[in-house]
Amino acid sequence: MNQTDASPQRIRKFPGRSPYVLLLLPAIAFLALFYLIPLSWIIRVSFYTHVPGAYMVPAFTAQNYLRLVTDPWYIRNSLWLTLKVALISTLASVVLAYPPALLITRSTGKLRRFLLVSVLAPLLISMVCLIFGWIVMFRGHGLMNQVLLGLHLVREPVQWMYNTFGVTLALIYISIPYVVISLLDSLQRVDPSWEEAARNVGANGWQTFLKITLPLSIPGAVSGSMIALTLNICAFAVPLLLGGEKVPMAGLVAYYQALEVNNLPFGAAISVMLLLASLLVIFVFQKVLHALYLKRMEVS
């Protein structure tokens, strides 16, 4: 045990400030190299110019952005459409997420677990498979139209796909699980005895929901909306798979411009706009959440 005579500096290493740098460095380096630099690169590229045939030419011009906000086609057919579809589908997904979220909160044991897994399952299944199943159901002579025709609810097959309506529906479908997760977070903080107390003083189910459960679930609804809205504003896979060129949402246009038309600078400009838009959404919603949180602190 004579090693105690060794110089204190050498052994002093333990357990003071230690190898966190070494532990974090690989991941930070990886992310810097293949995530931060590409993101910066795409911002830079968005100021390049596109010369047909020459791919892209280094430059520093805002023309790609100007084109996006001045060309009436992009404003009306793409940006406005994107905003409209994103807002509608977000709103609808929040409304439709409530029943399953409430159902899960109110059930226990095996049933709860089963419901939870059912709702979360779509998150672990490929988007392509989900949309493929969606197409199978909503095709001209698919399951949905067969049922509707069979029940004489419609006279002729409904056109579910290759239009804004169909894309909106599918976006709602994709968003619901995300919103349910957020709602559950809030709903599970609602003490069942608060609801019971409301029932106890004579409120019926609806009144209890409107006066007790709903207000308490607002933070969950807000953060759920935030996730759904950022997903939907930037949607590109769903319009690509379901709408084709008929529903040129901004994300899809960016993809087309960059990979099909080979106009990378313009595609980059659109995606930078989308990045800014989702950052703005996150920023605004975080502010709202913070305000809600402060308000709740005041109340209690």
Binding site: L31, T105, L124, I135, L259
Partner: protein, 259 residues
Amino acid sequence: MFVRVTGILIVVGLLLPIGVTVVVAFNSSGFLLPPSGFTLRWFEKAVRNRDFVQGFYVSLAVATVASLIATGLGLLSAFGYVRYSFPGKDWVNLLFLSPLMVPVVVLGLALYSYFVALHLNDTLTALVIGHAITLIPLSFRTITASLYNFDVSMEEAALNVGASRIQTFAWITFPIIKLGILAGFILSFIMSWNNFSISLFLAGSKYVPLPVAIYSYIKFEFDAVAAAVSTILILLSGVAIFVIDRTMGLGAVMGVRKG
């Protein structure tokens, strides 16, 4: 009552497209429903399709390597993050989780143009790296959660009886948190296996992962073969969902608090 009925309807609605796909894949009359008989014909056709077979191997390789990278990096950084306090900790957390917040189109486009510039486009490397970037937040989050649940005195007790740091990790820490790491790995694997958007940007013509192969197929042909391939993807997802739910609980891994 209203909640129960609508809730169940919506849950069924969420599962319906998945169910319909699986039914079609085994239905002898394909898209014609109700099903008329059981068949494996569509699977046979799928297995004879070169694009699908190749896509299967590409997906398998990419998912394996990308989730190994993500789990390794996630494990190291989760340790650094949970066990030490240092300036800028919140920023590190933000950095590791942010790939989830950046829109997929933006990330896809950025990686695409970056790999084009590096002459790495249409390679397995590009796919692996692109996937790993999207997986790091997931593995970081799961492993961080299991480390926060881990009682540090378990490690101190090991040091106290004379074990070195490495021995402590190998014999005490790792065995105790390995389920969390495993769940993180499976989650990463399945997310990569399913990934469509990033793959679409990064896949050229040589290496096409299965989801993109399905997309290319249904663009031109819409038949039950695609349903069969989708079913293969879904089945693997089902296995992953089952295993994750049994080990850590699917809800916990996806960020739902215990009710």
